[in-house]
């Protein structure tokens, strides 16, 4: 079994054990192999009705081994170093009876120097995590009076050890703390706030509580919305859901399986010139990392540059298929986005609101589903505060409207981007994490139940 102790010696030991796995797999006959060991400590507090429901701890000790033999790609998960020989032999046996993948282009090669991790080790075990929850509930109630609130606090500290037969060897530590609160001022008047950080230093859960409370208060007394075509201001949280969709669709794998509106769009204009999107697993983000799952240094990749689609996100293998370089987005089998950023705009949030004569302000959504990923036809259901704007001001809280539109059309109809940006993530709805400004999208189709 793994013995986990703090300190450089122990980390070196864990890396040695991980390297040993890679070497052993080679000795046994693998052409290429990557071993990645994770020692993870995850802690979560869940609350509802302003009380703590459960506090959870997960300790994870595991090694992912991915190997290739004659272009046959196989993977396994190992919890115990003691049985490593048998596991690797079994995996190789599986490779030999599996099928060749002619498009497998090999794992990334090279020796790399990695940036130093800035993980916050305090996030391994917080002394009183519930205090943060009560701080946020108090902030929500300060804004909205009595609220009924629920949500989660999640902390993560992962030590990651990677060894590849193709050269990369490295150690990374990844920490994060995220908080999500939904506050109800009335049965159908709620607001949602999030606070996402990689370290404890900048973490202020009261900000999320206050935002949830502010929106909940404004959302009181909602009326049924009317179907129609609206200019819509997207709050950073709901914008995070859109960025998650665009970011996921730019993975080369999504393009290959036609799970993307960006099929055959490389080099083409897909958004106004004001729109620049990048993937960036930077130190501030929940997805912070110094290397990807092939050991390639993680970096920022601008995929939409002033409205032009510049690249897909790649691992070494998809990069070879597309005759380009890896972008450092390797996941276990296919490339994945880490953290999507929209470049800040030139207007303040207030200026964007001011210029809307009649439109909507949406704060959150869920349940985004597609008819056709290539075409981009989809619908999603806004939740929490949804507001009618008239002459730049919020005039009425609304409910029960649905966005029924097309993601490519919406990307093309972005009309304004704010200077202010927020790092957002919640559940699977605004995922992967993103750095999102307020945006104004013209001519969004809204529908409702009949």
């Amino acid at each position: 079994m793994f013995e986990i102790k703090r300190g450089v010696c122990e980390m070196t030991d864990m890396l040695s054990k991980t390297e040993e796995i890679a070497k052993k797999a080679k000795t046994l006959g693998a052409d290429q192999v990557i071993a990645k060991t994770i020692v993870g400590k995850y802690r979560q507090v869940r609350f509802s009705n302003n009380q703590i429901d459960i506090t959870v701890a997960w300790n994870d000790y595991s090694t992912d081994v991915t190997l290739a033999w004659k272009k046959r790609l196989v993977a396994t998960l190992i919890h115990n170093f003691e049985g490593i020989d048998a596991s690797l032999k079994q995996l190789l046996k599986l490779a030999k009876i599996s099928q060749e993948n002619p498009t497998f282009g090999g794992f990334a090669k090279g020796k790399f120097h990695y940036a130093k991790s800035k993980a916050d080790r305090k996030l391994e075990d917080l002394e009183k995590p519930t205090d943060y929850v009560f701080e946020a509930i108090e902030a929500a109630e300060k804004e909205a009076g009595k609220v009924d609130s629920g949500g989660i606090l999640l902390t993560k500290l992962e030590d990651v050890y990677l060894a590849s037969s193709e050269g990369p060897v490295g150690v990374d530590s990844r920490s994060s703390i995220e908080f999500s609160i939904r506050a109800f001022a009335e049965r159908e008047a709620s607001g949602h706030g999030v606070e996402c950080c990689s370290t404890l230093k900048d973490f202020k859960p009261a900000r999320a509580g206050a935002k949830a409370g502010r929106i909940a208060k404004l959302a009181k007394g909602p009326k049924l919305g009317e179907e129609g075509v609206y200019d819509v201001i997207y709050d950073p949280l709901i914008h995070g859901s859109l960025l998650g969709v665009w970011g996921s669709m730019v993975s080369a794998y999504a393009v290959l399986v036609k799970n993307s509106v960006f099929v055959d769009k490389l080099g083409k204009k897909v958004a106004p010139e004001t729109v620049t999107l990048k993937d960036n697993p930077a130190a501030y983000s929940l997805s912070n990392r110094v290397f990807d799952d092939e050991g390639v240094p993680a970096k920022d990749n601008t995929f939409i540059d002033n409205g032009i689609l510049k690249t897909y996100l790649h691992n070494a293998s998809t990069a070879k298929m597309f005759k380009t370089e890896t972008t450092g987005n390797a996941g276990l089998v296919y490339p994945t986005p880490w953290n999507i950023e929209m470049e800040a705009g030139d207007r303040s949030k207030d200026e964007i609101f001011k210029n809307v004569k009649e439109g909507l302000y949406l704060t959150n959504t869920w349940y985004t589903r597609f008819q056709n990923f290539v075409k981009g036809d989809f619908s999603t259901i806004p939740r929490d505060g949804m507001f009618l704007i008239k002459n730049g001001e919020i005039k009425q809280s609304l409910k029960d409207l649905r966005v029924s539109d097309n993601v490519l059309t919406m990307l093309g109809n972005i009309d304004a981007i704010s200077k202010e940006r927020q790092h957002v993530h919640w559940w699977g709805e605004a995922d992967p994490p993103s750095l999102a400004p307020y945006i104004l999208i013209k001519n969004v189709h809204m529908t409702k139940s009949k």
Binding site: M1, S48, N49, I52, D53, I54, T55, V56, A57, W58, N59, D60, Y61, R72, L73, V74, A75, L77, H79, L91, L94, A95, I97, S98, Q99, E100, N101, T103, K128, T130, S149, G150, I152, R182, F184, R187, L256, V257, K258, N259, V333, W366, Y367, R369, Q371, N372, F373, V374, K375, S379, I381, R383, D400, R402, S404, W427, G428, K448, S449, K450
Partner: protein, 479 residues
């Protein structure tokens, strides 16, 4: 290792329970789980990757001072067991709740249960598994439909569980589960249409015979081709709508199963999966009308070999059929022991978890509408003008489970009781109450679809069946 179960040490689980009982606790349980996992992914019929692993670990859940603490690990040592017991105990005590949590009473149970396999998965070689999936692609190629991309996956989980609690329960179980998924893109006349089908079964490799995956995927491909080349659009307006079992099933799942989850009703899922249109003091509660008399929706974990099959839930409570909507009335919520205690009832065995590192929460199993007396043809024959929505593509529902939308994938126009032509993407966007109230007749043949239901944070995608017979809805707005 006790029992010789792969990756699992029952002695450590028992030790963890003893550690927990030695503390001042109101309740303690240990749930150990070992999964032999085997997954293969194919793109355009070619294997992308094969993943094979054993994942095992255990969790401890404790109630102390009216709070709940949970901790899990995949390290099987006594030292680690003590560590996670201490954590769970500390966390439970730190909750400092005003209203103390308790579990609804349940006597301890000692039992073992398993799901039989006619053709043991362990005896099916990886080559056979791959070739079975590749056959589906070969069938698609021979269908003469242009299919530029397919994505196929098959996931096998051989799940061994061991559950012990401080009330004397000791339950061992073994369930093999097989799931498959296929996503296809059809291109004709410069246009594309897409669809996926999901398959699921608790049991052995015989699953593939029951699924008829090649035939079903070829049918889906031809339907998509027809949508591009032959389908008309429907003129929006009020009309009759006949829903096929797939649409019936998703409606049963989304607008009956989910809003009837007691934890959601009590607000415990408020910030993620949301709440429910059903709440105490509101217009909808037990005994209130939600649909027509023709509508009875049940959730039943005991359907043999179903994807959501279980005999005891993850709190050791015996499973049984739950009548959620009964003859149009709200009847019985899905309960675990925590929600049942809050509502003053017994748990009806709805507590499920996807793994040792996830809290067991209130979940559906197999949710479906009970059949009526008529045939599908009889339902359609009595429609002057309307749409038969046989299957769906895009769908969603709001987080109070009241406003939903289903977009048809395979759909036909009904004129004077006859199916006349394919219809492209008809949409019903309506409320739960309007949907179920509009049902005037139900056919007699029930069919099931496999699905993965999402809930919980971290998300726990759990295997379920959705299903039912055909439903006929009178005078609903279709666009």
């Amino acid at each position: 290792m006790s029992q010789g179960w792969e990756g699992m040490d029952k002695d450590i689980a028992d030790f963890a329970l003893e550690c927990a009982r030695s503390k001042k606790v109101e309740y303690a349980e240990v749930r150990a789980l070992s999964q032999v996992q085997d997954g293969v992914m194919l793109r355009n019929g070619v294997v992308e990757a094969y993943v094979s692993a054993v994942d095992s670990g255990f969790c401890v859940r404790i109630i102390a001072d009216g709070g709940i603490g949970f901790a899990s690990t995949n390290k099987w040592t006594k030292g680690e067991a003590e560590t996670i017991v201490n954590m769970a105990h500390k966390y439970a005590k730190s909750a400092k709740r005003k209203d103390k949590l308790v579990f609804a009473e349940k006597k301890g149970v000692k039992t073992k249960w398993t799901v039989e396999q006619k053709k043991k998965i362990e005896n099916v070689s990886p080559e056979e598994r791959i070739s079975t999936l590749a056959e589906v692609n070969k069938a698609l190629v021979s269908s003469k439909v242009k299919i530029p991309a397919t994505m196929t996956s098959c996931q096998i989980n051989l799940i061994t569980k061991y559950f012990v609690n401080s009330e004397g329960s000791r339950i061992s179980s073994f369930v093999p589960k097989i799931g498959a998924f296929m996503f296809i893109t059809v291109a004709e006349q410069g246009k594309t249409e897409q669809a996926y089908n999901q398959f699921g079964y608790s049991g052995g490799w015989e699953a593939f015979n029951t699924w008829k995956m090649p035939e079903k995927m070829v049918h889906t491909a031809k339907v998509l081709k027809d949508v591009i080349t032959k389908a008309k659009t429907v003129k929006p307006g009020n009309m009759d709508l006949v829903c096929g079992p797939e649409v019936t099933g998703i409606a049963a799942h989304e607008s009956c199963g989910h809003p009837m989850e007691a934890d959601r009703i009590l607000g415990r899922e408020m910030s993620q999966a949301g709440r429910s249109f059903i709440y105490k003091g509101g217009p909808f509660w037990i005994g209130k009308k939600i649909g027509s008399k023709a509508v009875t929706v049940v959730d039943d974990p005991t359907v043999a070999h179903s994807y959501g099959y279980y005999e005891y839930d993850d709190e050791g409570v015996k499973a049984r059929r739950r009548f959620l909507y009964k003859e149009g009335l709200i009847n019985e919520f899905l309960q675990n022991r925590e929600s049942a205690a809050k509502l003053g009832v017994e748990s009806n065995g709805s507590s499920r978890s996807t793994n040792y590192d996830r809290e067991a929460i209130v979940r559906m199993a197999n949710t479906f509408v009970l059949p009526g007396e008529m045939t599908e043809e009889e339902l359609i024959k009595d429609v002057k003008y309307g749409v038969f929505m046989k299957s769906f593509t895009e769908w969603n529902i709001d987080d109070k489970r009241f406003n939903q939308r289903y977009v048809g994938r395979e759909a036909y126009l009904i004129e004077k009781g006859e199916l006349t032509s394919p219809v492209a993407r008809p949409v019903i966007e309506t409320t739960t109450q309007k949907f179920w109230t509009a049902v005037d007749a139900v056919s007699k043949k029930v069919e099931f679809e496999a699905a993965t239901c999402g809930k919980g944070d971290p998300s726990q995608g759990i295997p379920v069946y959705t299903g039912g017979p055909c439903l006929r809805l009178r005078e609903v707005y279709v666009k």
